[in-house]
């Protein structure tokens, strides 16, 4: 292996973690679950994008954003706007007063598509928008705040307020955004039915591949010099600044990268689930996404994915059988992770893998495909992610 690939794969241990994750996502889950459950997993894996972005931002950068739902939502809405315009062709909307515009616009007495919907008639522009709009928004927020050295809890509170503002705005402007129901009844993408069984499988696999790709990119970032600086900034910001680095630019960059990753997750969510609504943007989803990353281990990219899967599986299981219990459990999870397992599952794995030398044994019995709990490359750095 040359230097770059070894960096991306994270050495032998990282490679094992990645292979096991891929085996679970691409082979075990599709074989073991029916299409309905697999669809749920696909949905959880779109949240995993956000969890991974938070590992980068919060675990490595020490920046806690309580507004990652904003970017997830923006990405999702961009995609949903395109699909909605395609679903609202003049033939299928001919009973409306103005055929050819989305149904909720018609209900709100709009007679033409608003200007900011126009670019979403083209798929190319839509994909560009998914990639650019959230990152640009993150740049504006990041520039305004990091340049003035706003960080820590202030940043968390303000991003939370922005998530609230965006939710109220989307709910309030029903004619332009679909209101509280969001954008629903999405059917086809360039004539390709996204709702039938085969396309559900295809979208699931595309989603999985994008996720693995994201992990590789994140690993590249973390192992680069920039990644080192990120860690240094998290632990001793002043010292990095005095060494002559412009700390705020690094922070803005990592915030934009995290926004971009979340937006990809949002767009994949819309494609797989078939709608987008403000309930994925606000305060509650944004902070829940933090707990996915925290459960998986805030320093572990692969751990974050397991975290997202486990917490959501737990939610589905409990809210089916004991809906009352779920909030207790979720609340308890927040408290327990923070108090007792600040490094999450990855931290536990690190601790016990060292004890029983699991990694070495696993290399021997690797062919039997025993599942690992978490990413082996997670550095056992003391988590001082919190900084005022």
């Amino acid at each position: 292996m040359n230097a770059l690939t070894s960096k991306l794969l994270g050495g032998k241990q990282g490679l094992i973690g990645l292979v096991i994750l891929s085996a679970i996502i691409f082979i075990a889950l599709p074989l073991g679950l029916d299409l309905f459950r697999l669809g749920l997993v696909g949905k959880y894996l779109t949240y995993a994008f956000v969890a991974v972005s938070l590992v980068l931002l919060w675990g490595y950068g020490g920046i806690l954003s309580l507004g990652q739902g904003i970017f997830f939502g923006l990405g999702g809405y961009c995609m949903a706007m395109f699909l909605k315009l395609e679903a609202s062709d003049p033939v299928s909307t001919k009973i409306q007063t103005t055929p050819g515009i989305p149904d909720f616009m018609d209900w709100n007495q709009l007679t033409e598509i608003p200007w900011f919907w126009v670019p979403f008639q083209s798929l190319t522009l839509t994909i560009l928008a998914v990639l650019i709009v959230p990152a640009l928004f993150a740049y504006i927020i990041g520039y305004a705040m990091f340049k003035r050295r706003v960080g820590g809890v202030y940043f968390a509170i303000i991003t939370q307020a922005i998530a609230l503002i965006l939710t109220i705005l989307i709910v309030g402007q029903q004619g332009f955004t679909g209101g509280v129901n969001g954008i629903t009844d999405l059917k086809t993408m360039l004539g390709w039915d996204i709702r039938d069984d085969s396309s559900k499988y295809i979208l699931y696999y595309v989603n999985g591949l994008l996720l693995i790709g994201t992990i590789l990119v994140c690993r590249y970032i973390i192992t680069s010099k920039f990644g080192m600086l990120l860690l240094a900034m998290r632990d001793k910001e002043e010292r990095v600044r005095f060494s002559g680095y412009d700390v705020s630019n690094f922070k803005i960059f990592i915030f934009c990268v995290a926004a971009l990753i979340s937006a990809i997750g949002g767009a994949m969510f819309t494609l797989q689930v078939g709608f987008m609504s403000p309930s994925f943007i606000g305060i509650v989803p944004s902070i829940e996404m933090v707990i996915f990353a925290a459960v998986g281990g805030r320093m572990s990219l692969i751990g974050a994915i397991y975290g997202a899967l486990l917490v959501n599986f737990g939610r589905t299981m409990f809210s089916e059988t004991y809906p009352e219990l779920w909030l207790f459990l979720m609340g308890g999870l927040f408290i327990a992770v923070v108090m007792f397992f600040p490094n999450g599952l990855a931290g536990l794995y690190e601790k016990y893998a060292k004890k029983y030398r699991l990694a070495e044994r696993m290399q021997k019995i690797f062919s039997s495909g025993k599942p690992a709990k978490a990413d082996a490359e997670a550095t056992p750095t003391k988590t001082t992610g919190a900084k005022a």
């Binding site: 919060w58 820590g152 979720m330 927040f334 408290i335 005022a388």
Partner: protein, 305 residues
Amino acid sequence: MFGYSMAEIGNIFVMQGFSGLSLFSVLLLMALGLAIIFGQMGVINMAHGEFMALGAYTTVLFSQLAVAFDLVNYYFVFAIIAAFIVAFVIGYLVEFGLIRHLYKRPLDTLLATWGLSLVMQQIFRSTFGAKEVSAELPAWLLGSFKPTEDIDIPINGVFVMGLAVVVTVGVLLFMFRSNWGLRVRATVQNRVMAGAVGINTKKVDRVTFALGCGIAGVAGAAFTTIASTGPTTGSLYIVDSFMVVVFGGAASVLGTIASAFGIAQAQSILQFFLTSSMGKVATLMTIVVILMMKPEGLFAAKLRK
């Protein structure tokens, strides 16, 4: 202007301004507790709204008792005191069990208290049901008075405002005129030095946190006079109250008062001329933009860092 005559505009301003004052009172009571906890101790308490709900539910329970024993006209004062005590005690326990382990990790405190807020919401839901409940108000809190023909001012609003003023004065006196306040301020300014001169800083932390929670309980008691209480009532106010504290300058009590007033008035008056949601968006947006330009808030303590 908007098709109203000048006199009507005047009346609208007075009446919306007054409904803004009710909002101001609740926000102020919420934010005072937060200003003490966040401004003085640097702890983010995301469960602060749930402490307010705790106070509100205590008041509701008292009102049910009062109805049973036919004491509706007198219970309210005791309910306020009880709301304070209940929230104070729970806050004390929370500090002991949770917060004190996390002082060095403010972001983690934020997550842990969020978890606490979920648990508390579910406890409310399991105990009192998902439906909103309201307190039986004493007769002297009902009705309104009319200084002129077109202006209509509800008495409960006046009462809540009076309560907010009393609590604010009490907090100011406590912080700046009492020995406890002196110790709190000393601990905030220099923890090590305060410890060296014999202040039990751990105890100060615990009492300060509990006091903030207790004030949230009073806010809850006040809240029952203007609206009904549900399990998620507290969470609706939490972002607003944080905005009030941050906007006012975290360490300044006067700043908190001023920004609670500004935010409540802006929201209330804007909501009349725009839609309710756009009024809120416009207010919050303005705050966020101002905070981006002036992150330390309006009334920042002048400190050399």
